[in-house]
Point group: C2
Chain length 123, copies 2
Amino acid sequence: MEKQPDLCRVEDALDILVGKWKPIILLHLLQQGTKRFSELKRSMPGITQKMLTQKLRELEEEDIVERIVYPEVPPKVEYSITAYGRSLEPILEAMHEWGTNHIVHKIRKQEGMNKAGSQEERK
Amino acid sequence: MEKQPDLCRVEDALDILVGKWKPIILLHLLQQGTKRFSELKRSMPGITQKMLTQKLRELEEEDIVERIVYPEVPPKVEYSITAYGRSLEPILEAMHEWGTNHIVHKIRKQEGMNKAGSQEERK
DNA sequence: CTGTATCCATGGTGATACTG
DNA sequence: CAGTATCACCATGGATACAG
């Protein structure tokens, strides 16, 4: 199951952006700079420690985020976007904009179907 | 689980682009225009009919691709990108470019590690 | 505080067979 | 030709407990 010859380096970018928490983590770090583990966790209600750790490790592995451990007690670990990671920002923003527009598109479509399907909606 | 307040319309775009075959399908249709089902299938070795149908339906649902059925025997169905679907092209291209660059990045990193650890070349 | 280690539920994907 | 219908697998994600 080889990938298409030249076509799909798209998927390399996709792999990094995708997953239930990765975009959220990236957005948080992009917008709020350096954060420590507990701060990130607090700012993402619903995420488990396991997922946060796992996704941060994956992003670190790709040099998208940087992890700095302070050898203290209690432990302190800070995460931030790398310069390289910032190269993803235009893509994230384009997707955000597209997504925002897309919900409008869907609503319009929905309205169109309502109009076509029924005369009610009189209030 | 609720999404972040404003942050993540990114995921709406992601949902459309993601999946094992969606980017490939989109790229094929973007680059090669209108194609019929069997042509698409042939041009994507490894995809099953089920997956191709399913993904095309999802893309159609989002108005990204258009499906035209010719009432003939044998059946003929053509797929193409909608004008709206083309609005995804910049994102796809940005991702393709980023991905292409990313493999270079990884190779460089790999070389760097080799150099750093080059003292030990045992076995 | 910042992680690991398990176990388990779920869904997306694939193989295969069948149909209008 | 262009699908639909089933079944099975496995990776991803979630809950929980434990540890340095």
